[in-house]
Symmetry: C2
Subunit: 257 residues, 2 copies
Amino acid sequence: AARAIAVVNQKGGVGKTTTAVNLAASLAASERATLLVDLDPQANATSAFGILEPAFQLYDVLCGESALRRATIPTELTHLHVLPAGPDLAGAEIELVTVDDREYQLRLALADALPLYDFIVIDCPPSLGMLTLNALSAANAVLVPLQSEYYALEGLARLLDTIERVRGAWNPSLEMEGIVLTMVDRRANLSRQVEDEVRGHFGTGGAGVFRTSIPRNIRLSEAPSHGKPILLYDIRSRGAVAYLALAEELLAKHPRP
Amino acid sequence: AARAIAVVNQKGGVGKTTTAVNLAASLAASERATLLVDLDPQANATSAFGILEPAFQLYDVLCGESALRRATIPTELTHLHVLPAGPDLAGAEIELVTVDDREYQLRLALADALPLYDFIVIDCPPSLGMLTLNALSAANAVLVPLQSEYYALEGLARLLDTIERVRGAWNPSLEMEGIVLTMVDRRANLSRQVEDEVRGHFGTGGAGVFRTSIPRNIRLSEAPSHGKPILLYDIRSRGAVAYLALAEELLAKHPRP
Ligand SMILES: Nc1ncnc2c1ncn2[C@@H]1O[C@H](COP(=O)(O)OP(=O)(O)OP(=O)(O)O)[C@@H](O)[C@H]1O
Ligand SMILES: Nc1ncnc2c1ncn2[C@@H]1O[C@H](COP(=O)(O)OP(=O)(O)OP(=O)(O)O)[C@@H](O)[C@H]1O
Ligand SMILES: [Mg+2]
Ligand SMILES: [Mg+2]
């Protein structure tokens, strides 16, 4: 059955979508059947593949109006499908508050996907509200993109507390996949200081900080405007090389059965 | 009475907090009595002034447990006070859903501040949930920080729709203060393209795009780790010069009565 990885950080703009999109694409390039789930009402992971007005979206699957298979969309990469977000998802954050078993709705919706894929990668919105809590309840593991900046570091403790709370209340087997340093600029003091502090505190490898870090690379921010993941937009860029290396490091931790 | 400006953009990491903090500080430096309200549970605008565990916070004022005056904290700048966020604010997003007049709670809470200040600047979380809707219902005007990147541009239409909806439903006099381009890097094609497109569409000045844009400047991201706004951390930096110019441009639009 698939390993579901939630890409989570309530701090905005730290590279959640860029990581979810390009990690999913790199796993697919390594011939692992992968489903990218866009749980953010902003629908950035959806538009990253040039998907504009999907006939069905995740919201339809969440409220049982569409089967999962009907809502998933193939991409240019054979082994990658996308479960797109749409405008209705914005209402789900408030609607879920008054639903029974509100934390388990995504887990129920994704049950049909487990036998079909090797990996499920879930892109989350920048908050710790109902949508993100659903992702943490549905996932096997959490991947935390961390920008090497002061505000991003500040929010980490609250995020780890929330993961602990979810593990205790709704998902006892939730693991830490690891922390990925994003937009790293080794020339900047602040970036190096944050990296030293985080690797010092969490360690490298295992459930700590991935050996692979993602450099700041303008090609990564250009790729979405072309509706392509980085490895289809510019395979030779530092961004593409970094996300392929991240996928390799992840696969080395979870060898095929 | 004070002019209340909500700094809003559901896209994460576009410079909302950096703009709210440094615009408020620059207005105070121009001798306007200013209150900075931190409406984001991340409490970044609070820690930007080195405020760690405030005795009272915005949440206490929202639910009537503390008077506004008791919760506001002075800063090193004579004319700047901060109404800090705290951990309880995270619960407010869900709690407000079932309260009567849920959209007006912040407006009621800030009523006591109107005669005391010239400007109230509200930093918002990266979402269009209950907290941001409260800010849009309480404010006289909306300031939209816009990062010159593809995903940020994509979210603009949805944001402007939401502002329109709030104007129709809860706050008929809500104006657009303007769009501020942030983290501008004139060397990057994407940044120039986005700037041309946005200025072309919204115009410069008036309710459109501010003439002043904020360059990417590492000193801006270093300042919060020292608990100071940029003009106290490094007054000669390009970041400080840009935010002082932004304040000047704003004051020129609203001359003292
Ligand atoms: N390594 C990188 N180098 C350069 N630009 C990057 C990099 N990673 C992300 N970006 C750009 O930075 C911006 C923020 O990244 P992204 O949107 O992926 O973050 P996010 O955490 O998903 O944001 P949100 O909190 O709004 O969901 C985007 O415009 C993206 O293109
Ligand atoms: N002009 C700039 N130059 C360089 N760094 C900047 C600039 N503006 C903001 N930053 C940095 O970029 C990051 C994002 O900015 P900020 O936190 O202000 O955005 P935000 O929109 O408030 O984020 P969130 O959506 O999480 O509330 C921060 O680490 C900040 O220090
Ligand atoms: Mg995102
Ligand atoms: Mg902020």
